[in-house]
Symmetry: C3
Subunit: 215 residues, 3 copies
């Protein structure tokens, strides 16, 4: 256990907590009971890291030996259950919790992939997978339109954060500096997308050439 | 192979068979052909146990070496294909098949997790995951509203069954007694939810504070 | 590395490329940006093979060590982003790309399962899983009705292709002949389904016995 492992470890816990909060907020949108809040918090909080561990072959997955992480998710879920009505907008809160988790997990996932010996491209992809799968699970299970389908920049922010980490480390920048830089890049891009509606040019069929489902 | 392993083994097969039936019943709702019935039966019947094995790192997964389990799913699917029209309500049958499978897999999943050395909390969570993932896969692939989103108690029943098993075994109660107790607790809670509409207090936004999607 | 491994390897890359194209075409239906195209291409292209590897316990999964496959998906995604508007119907193109991928992955997945020591039934099932999961992920994440729910033959084509391979090899037919035969059977059945609307008899509730959702 080095200081950095501990630092990464804390970022990991932070990602789990904010994703758990986003899961509990979706549970509030679906008017679930308290157990449903805990389930959605756990599913969203553990989802990304579980996919990462499965893809890397790191089993049993991390949370089987970590009851304290389960307590974090359950605690967040109960907190949201009793306080969500105080929020101005639960949907805005959900978007911001998701944004913080996205940046955290993109960087943590990419770093863990590098430590496991993945090549740089695979590390970026694994960072993106870690950052997005918890939210995808949350939205699919709850029958919501996945956030990645929304117009503002989303996946790009995760990819940029992970790529920043990977490139800086490849240039010899110390690990914790690279981690912080990746976090800032990922979060600031997503924050700009949320605050200013930033988006990349999207595909549009030319008028008159769009097609009905059965065309 | 002890007697209990055999007992657990039979419960496992029973869980697979009833979940396979629930999958085939959803296939009937979607008016699939016979091959679609088999696919949905296999997906639902094997889904929960497959997720459990992947999370524990038990690969190759159980059904790769067990053609007889595949035969069970296929047989159930064909049976449902030819007899489902005799049912008073296929949707009620689906709910009850799912309820039996939920109780069985919650207990079997938690027990297998304990045998694999998981801590008690993780064992309960793994029991819940084993019990719910087959149904989630079934509903998501078929574009149905997942049963876990319905108002009556669902996840709570699985968690209670798994927790009963884990707590009783922790108290030194013999394994098969604990298994039967867990099964009864899980099934009776879910049955009460289906018959009497039992539900826990669910989250409700205060009037006037609910929000539109983009708020 | 034998010649067949290379042949299988090429079929694998071809399956990844056509599924990547189908993913990018769905991204065009959802008017995503270029990064969304790449994500959908990667998710669909790698999805089936990833599920296959996880079920067999072959981790880390194949694409973590293969940046060239990532380049294939990204290249296909960019190509589709800039040329999809030239297509007569993007939905028809999606159906055909999916059909080619379905046949390829059914055979490749079954063969890899046999090489890993699976029994014949499990090999067919794993071929079907490999062939269908990329498309299921693509459609579920994008909130589209999964292709497997459509009326024309779909899963049956994958199962027939995989079964042809497994049966022929069991009869002592040389491996590459069996692979080509499986490919042809799988693709031609799916092609007939697309061109002529072939379907198997599907389940229908008798009139007056269908039921409302809550029945």
């Amino acid at each position: 256990m080095t200081a950095l492992d501990t630092f990464l470890g804390w970022l990991d816990v932070a990602a789990i907590a904010v994703f758990a909060a986003s899961g509990a907020l979706v549970a509030s949108r679906k008017q679930m009971d308290a157990v449903g809040f805990v389930l959605m918090a756990v599913l969203t909080g553990f989802g990304g890291g579980t996919v990462r561990d499965l893809l890397l072959g790191r089993t049993p997955v991390f949370w089987l030996g970590a009851p304290e992480l389960l307590a974090v998710c359950a605690g967040v879920a109960v907190l949201v259950f009793f306080t969500a009505h105080l929020l101005e907008s639960r949907f805005r809160a959900l978007l911001w919790a998701d944004a913080v988790g996205l940046a955290l997990y993109a960087v943590v996932g990419a770093e863990i992939a590098l430590l496991a010996g993945a090549n740089p491209w695979a590390a970026v992809l694994l960072g993106v997978a870690t950052a997005t799968f918890g939210g995808i699970l949350r939205d699919v299970v709850c029958n919501e339109v996945p956030l990645i389908l929304r117009r503002e920049i989303y996946v790009t922010a995760a990819a940029a954060g992970a790529a920043t980490l990977v490139v800086l480390q490849g240039q010899g920048v110390p690990r914790d500096t690279a981690v912080v830089a990746g976090l800032l890049v990922g979060f600031l891009i997503r924050a700009a997308a949320l605050l200013r509606g930033w988006s990349l040019p999207s595909y549009r069929a030319r008028p008159g050439r769009d097609y009905p489902d059965g065309a």
